[in-house]
């Protein structure tokens, strides 16, 4: 699956590497700033008030 994605990227491998790193960074930030904050509200250990 990831091999096929790699092949789908344009350019020689240094360019593919750069694009991959940018995509990974984007996904990481999306997770940390958007997805995980939402998931956290579903988690039980956040309820601390009576």
């Amino acid at each position: 699956m990831y091999a096929a994605l790699w092949r789908a990227l344009p350019g020689p491998w240094p360019l593919k590497l750069v694009i991959t790193l940018v995509l990974v960074a984007a996904v990481f930030l999306l997770l940390m700033e958007v997805v995980f904050p939402w998931v956290t509200t579903l988690m039980p250990y956040n309820d601390v008030a009576v």
Binding site: M1, Y2, A3, A4, F28, L31, M32, F36, V39, T40, T41, M43, P44, Y45, N46, D47, V48, A49, V50
Partner: protein, 270 residues
């Protein structure tokens, strides 16, 4: 031997995709653990530090030279820091700016005051909620508090010292423990009087809002005359669960006016 110029087409096999998906899920779970254990703590540290700076500015602790009008608004706005708490037995660097409110957004910055309860230094119950895991985890170690440990709250005008009430003793043993750090009148109220049922630390269910009443366990009405000053801390229990709540109660034993440049001796206790 010449090769046929047929392009090699690799077929994605189902097991390969499944394997890679499982690996991806595993990485996502690890990233979530990293998020909870590290990322939120970074974010909350930043928010707490901002809250503390706001406080320092309002109290004239920086060198701006402006003396702030000491007559503060009666009630801080939601999210606004209005006091600091210290727990000397957790170390000299254990301190948090307390913000107003107990919504998720408020608690991201640090411990937050239940808005229906009293203020520090007032008769009644100053109740504060805080995260146990993640988001700075200010209340992670509350289960390590012992009877008579100090919780010190700094407001714009005074230092208020509270002492943890007896936790699991009864009768004479409870009186003896209380007498170690409370006044004789307080020790009596804690043993046989209106605070006899107030435990230094106990576990209860969510929704047990009587723990934040002016006298914990009593009605939520406005505080009557002659009440002691209490601080109540609430957090979740067991550590990663919301099934229960851990409640800590401490009674005010001392209140000294703030003198610039001086810190009360109680902060150096171990």
């Amino acid at each position: 031997m010449s090769r046929h110029a047929t392009p090699v087409r690799s077929r994605l096999s189902a097991s390969q995709v499944l394997g890679e998906l499982l690996l991806t899920v595993g990485v996502l779970l690890l990233l979530f653990a990293f998020y909870e254990a590290y990322w939120t703590n970074l974010n909350s540290a930043r928010l707490q530090s901002q809250a503390d700076e706001q406080l320092a500015e309002r109290w004239g602790e920086d060198d701006s030279g402006e003396r702030v009008n000491p007559r503060q608004k009666l009630t801080p706005e939601l999210g606004e820091a209005f006091a600091r708490m210290y727990i000397p037995s957790f170390g000299s660097d254990f301190q948090f700016a307390i913000v107003e409110g107990t919504e998720d957004a408020d608690l991201m910055a640090g411990p937050g005051r239940y808005t229906t309860t009293q203020m520090p230094g007032e008769a009644g119950n100053f109740a504060v909620a805080g995260h146990r895991v993640g988001k700075g985890a200010p209340f992670n170690d509350l289960d390590n508090l012992e009877v008579c440990d100090a919780i010190v709250v700094e407001t714009s005008t005074e230092w208020v010292t509270y002492r943890i009430l007896p936790i699991d003793s009864d009768g004479d043993a409870r009186r003896a423990e209380a007498a170690e750090c409370l006044t004789p009148e307080q020790a009596e109220r804690v043993t046989t009087g209106d605070y006899a049922g107030v435990l230094g630390r106990h576990i209860t269910l969510p929704g047990d809002i009587e723990v934040i009443s002016p006298v914990p366990g009593g009605p939520e009405a406005a505080p009557t005359d002659g009440l002691e000053g209490l601080i109540t801390l609430t957090t979740c229990h067991p550590q990663f669960s919301n099934a229960e709540r851990m409640i800590v109660h401490a009674m005010e034993v001392e209140s000294t006016p703030k003198i610039p440049g001086q810190r009360p001796a109680v902060l150096e206790e171990t």
